[in-house]
C-alpha cells in the first residue's frame, strides 16, 4: 500500500499521499502530488510535492512543501505557509495570515488583511515583513529605478508603502481631508477622503552610506596651496569598500502633491582617524506639476573633532533623475603633505515623515 485514501472517487492519488477528503466538485480535487496530504474539508486540491491542506474549503496547492488552511487560498510558491481566506502566494519561503492578500515575493512574512501586493517590477524583492498592516503595497511597476525593497518592514497602519532597501515604515495612515469633495474615500464613495494607492501619511526610515578614498590633491588657483576635496555621496548601499557611489539613489515616489520632513543623523569617520557627526532637518516638497524640490534644510546640531569641523552636508535634487534626493558630505582640506591619503566612511539614517499636501 503506497497511498492512504478514504474515498475512492476522484482522480488517482500521488504516490505516498494521504487523502481523507470525501467531497469534491471535480475529480482533480485530490492529493495528486507525491507525499501530499489533505486531512479534511471539501473541494481541496494538492498537486505539489510534499504539500498539505489541513482542512477547509476550495484550497489549491501547486507549490512543493507548502501548507494551507482556510478557504479559497492558492499557493504556488514552495515552502510557503498560508492561513486565512482568499489569499494567493507565488513567492517561496513565504508565510501569510489574513484575508484577500496576494504575494509574489520570496521570504515574506505577513499578518494583515485586505492587502494588495502590487509587486510589478519588484516582485523579486525578498525578506519582507508585514506586521498587522492593512492595505499594503510593496513596490510599484513604474518605480523608475526598480529598486527592490529587500528587507523592508511595515508595522501597523493603513497603506504603508515601502520602496527602499531595508526601509521600516511605521504609523502609515490615510487621513480624511475635510472640505475636499473631489477625492473619495477608497471604495466607499464617501467624499472627504483620499485616493487609494498613494502613500498619504507615513513615517519611515532608511539607511544611507558612502565611502571613498581621498581624491587627488590639486592646487587652489586662488591661494596656490595644495588642496584636496573630500566629497561623499550618500546612497542606499552606497560606497562599499572604497568604491565611490555604486549604490541606489534615494528616489521619491510620489504620484500626488506631497511633503516630506526628513530628519537626518549622519556620521563621517576617517578610518583609523577622526570623526564627526550631526543632525539636519530637510523639507522636501512636490507640487501639482510633479516637480520635486528641496525647500529648506538646516543644521540642527554638530559634534566631533575639530579637524573634521569643515565637513558640511548638502541636499539637492539630482539632475540625473528629477525624483532623486542627492545627499553629499564634503569638505576641502589642505593636506599635511602631498602624499596624504586615507579613506572616509559615512552613514546616515534618514527618518521621513510624509504627508499628502493637497489643499482642495
Amino acid at each position: 500500500m503506497s497511498r492512504f485514501v478514504t474515498d475512492s472517487a476522484g482522480d488517482s492519488r500521488g504516490l505516498y499521499s494521504t487523502d481523507t477528503q470525501f467531497d469534491r466538485l471535480s475529480p482533480d480535487q485530490v492529493t495528486s502530488g507525491q507525499y501530499s496530504s489533505i486531512f479534511a474539508g471539501v473541494n481541496n486540491k494538492v498537486t505539489g510535492l510534499g504539500s498539505a491542506v489541513f482542512a477547509g474549503y476550495s484550497n489549491e496547492v501547486s507549490g512543493n512543501y507548502s501548507y494551507v488552511g482556510g478557504q479559497l487560498n492558492i499557493v504556488k510558491g514552495e515552502y510557503a505557509c498560508l492561513f486565512g481566506y482568499n489569499n494567493e502566494i507565488e513567492g517561496y519561503y513565504s508565510w501569510m495570515v489574513g484575508n484577500d492578500n496576494s504575494n509574489q515575493n520570496d521570504f515574506l512574512f505577513g499578518f494583515g488583511q485586505n492587502g494588495n501586493f502590487y509587486n510589478g517590477g519588484n516582485k523579486n524583492a525578498r525578506s519582507i515583513t508585514i506586521l498587522c498592516s492593512n492595505g499594503y503595497n510593496i513596490g510599484t511597476p513604474d518605480y523608475a529605478e526598480d529598486a527592490q525593497p529587500n528587507g523592508c518592514v511595515t508595522m501597523g497602519g493603513f497603506f504603508p508603502y515601502p520602496v527602499f532597501i531595508g526601509e521600516v515604515v511605521k504609523n502609515a495612515n490615510v487621513y480624511a481631508v475635510l472640505g475636499n469633495p473631489y477625492i473619495p474615500i477608497p471604495g466607499s464613495g464617501i467624499a472627504g477622503g483620499l485616493q487609494v494607492n498613494t502613500n498619504q501619511v507615513q513615517n519611515s526610515q532608511v539607511l544611507l552610506t558612502g565611502e571613498k578614498l581621498f581624491e587627488v590633491p590639486f592646487i587652489d588657483p586662488d591661494t596656490g596651496q595644495i588642496r584636496l576635496t573630500n566629497t561623499l555621496r550618500l546612497q542606499l548601499e552606497g560606497g562599499i569598500n572604497n568604491i565611490p557611489d555604486g549604490g541606489t539613489n534615494l528616489t521619491i515616489l510620489a504620484p500626488e502633491v506631497t511633503n516630506w520632513i526628513m530628519t537626518v543623523n549622519w556620521v563621517v569617520k576617517e578610518l583609523n582617524g577622526d570623526v564627526t557627526s550631526g543632525q539636519d532637518n530637510v523639507v522636501i516638497g512636490k507640487d501639482q506639476f510633479g516637480g520635486l524640490t528641496v525647500q529648506e534644510y538646516e543644521h540642527i546640531a554638530r559634534v566631533g573633532q575639530s579637524s573634521m569641523a569643515d565637513f558640511d552636508t548638502t541636499y539637492t535634487i539630482s539632475g540625473i533623475n528629477p525624483n532623486s534626493i542627492e545627499m553629499n558630505i564634503s569638505r576641502t582640506v589642505v593636506p599635511p603633505n602631498p602624499s596624504y591619503s586615507g579613506t572616509l566612511r559615512a552613514a546616515a539614517v534618514v527618518k521621513f515623515t510624509q504627508s499628502f499636501a493637497y489643499q482642495g
Binding site: 492512504f4 498539505a52 512543501y65 515552502y79 519561503y93 518592514v153 521600516v168 539607511l207 552613514a347
Partner: protein
C-alpha cells in the same frame, strides 16, 4: 485500537518502523530508519517521508526529514527540528530548541526560550528575542527581548534593543559580519530618592533602571565601532515637575577603547525652573561599559525642603552603528 498507523504490520523493521506511541496517528509510508515514526504518546505524522515525532503530543504535519522531538513540538516542511517543548519549526532546515521557540523560513535557529527567528539564516539566542524578515541576523544571549527587523546581519545584543536597517555585508564582502552597519533603539532608565531639604544627586541611567553595574550598562559590540546617537531624554520629579531634552552624541571606539566622545545639546524644554536644574553627561568607563549616561544637577538643587522627592529619568537612544576599520 489505541493508535492508527498506515504501516504497523511488522513493527521493528525499517519498512514498518518502530512501535507507534499509544494514541498516536502515523500516516507516513517512507522511512530510512526504524525510528522515523510517530513514537510519542498521542503524536502525529500526517504524511511525507523520513519524519519523526518522538515525544508526547508532538506532530509532524508533513514534508520530508522533519523531527519533532520536544513535548508538543510541531514541524512542517523539510529538514526541520523542533526539540524545545511547545516549539514550532516551519519551512526548511530550521531548528527550534528553546521552550516555545518559533522558526519560519529557511535555515533559522531559535535556541532561547520564547525566541522567534523568521527569514533566512537567522539565529535567535536571547530569551524572548526575535528576528523577523531578516537574513543572517543574530540576537545574542545578552539581547534578552531584543528584536531585529529586516535587513541582513543585524545583531541585537542589548536587552530590549530594536534593530533596523542592518547591512552586515557592507564592509565585509561576501561573508556578512554582524553589527557592522545598523540602526537601533534602546531605552535607559534611572531613579533616585532625594530626602527633604537635601541636594539632589546624579541619576545614573541603566538598561534595567537598577544601580549601575557591569551587566546593566551599555557596551558596544566589537572593538572598532563608531556610534552616532540621537538621545531624547526626560526627567520627572514625582512632585509634578517635568523636563525633557535632545542631545546628539558621538562615541568612537578603536582597539577596544573609546578614544573620543563629544556631545551637542540640541534643545531643552519643560518646567521653567526645573529644566535649568539638570544636564546630561556621557562617558566611557572602560570595557565592558563603553557608554554611561548620567543626569547631573546643575550645582546644588534642593527640590523640596519638607518632603522627599523621587526623581525618575528615561532616555531613548537612536544609534547609528558603523564599523570604523
Amino acid at each position: 485500537m489505541s493508535k492508527f498507523s498506515v504501516q504497523n504490520g511488522v513493527s521493528g523493521s525499517i519498512k514498518y518502523g518502530d512501535p507507534r506511541g499509544n494514541a498516536s496517528t502515523d500516516m507516513q509510508f517512507v522511512r530510512t530508519a526504524a525510528d522515523q515514526v510517530a513514537s510519542g504518546y498521542a503524536s502525529l505524522i500526517g504524511g511525507g517521508a523520513q519524519n519523526k515525532a518522538s515525544n508526547f503530543y508532538s506532530a509532524v504535519v508533513g514534508g520530508f526529514g522533519n523531527v519533532s522531538s520536544g513535548v508538543s513540538a510541531l514541524t512542517a516542511g523539510a529538514g526541520n527540528v523542533a526539540s524545545g517543548e511547545s516549539s514550532v519549526a516551519l519551512g526548511g532546515g530550521n531548528l527550534s530548541s528553546g521552550y516555545g521557540a518559533f522558526t519560519l523560513g529557511l535555515d533559522n535557529q531559535a535556541t532561547a526560550d520564547g525566541s522567534v527567528a523568521v527569514g533566512n539564516g537567522n539565529v535567535a539566542q536571547g530569551v524572548g528575542s526575535g528576528i523577523i524578515g531578516s537574513a543572517a541576523s543574530t540576537t545574542l544571549s545578552t539581547g534578552v527581548g531584543a528584536l531585529v527587523l529586516g535587513g541582513s546581519a543585524g545583531v541585537g545584543y542589548l536587552p530590549g534593543q530594536v534593530v533596523t536597517n542592518a547591512r552586515g555585508g557592507q564592509y565585509s564582502g561576501a561573508t556578512p559580519e554582524i553589527g557592522t552597519l545598523q540602526v537601533s533603539e534602546i531605552i535607559l532608565t534611572g531613579q533616585i530618592e532625594v530626602p527633604p531639604g537635601q541636594a539632589a544627586s546624579s541619576i545614573p541611567l541603566t538598561l534595567d533602571g537598577g544601580a549601575p553595574g557591569p551587566t546593566n550598562q551599555v557596551g558596544m559590540l566589537g572593538s572598532d565601532k563608531t556610534w552616532q546617537i540621537d538621545i531624547d531624554y526626560m526627567v520627572i520629579g514625582l512632585n509634578g515637575k517635568v523636563m525633557g531634552g535632545k542631545d546628539i552624541v558621538i562615541f568612537d571606539k578603536i582597539s577596544n577603547i573609546v578614544n573620543y566622545s563629544d556631545k551637542a545639546s540640541v534643545s531643552v524644554i519643560g518646567d521653567a525652573v526645573f529644566k535649568t536644574q539638570f544636564t546630561t553627561n556621557y562617558i566611557s568607563l572602560g570595557s565592558p561599559v563603553d557608554f554611561a549616561m548620567t543626569i547631573i544637577p546643575n550645582g546644588v538643587v534642593i527640590l523640596d525642603p519638607n518632603f522627599p522627592v523621587t526623581l525618575r529619568a528615561a532616555a531613548k537612544l537612536t544609534i547609528v552603528e558603523l564599523k570604523n576599520n
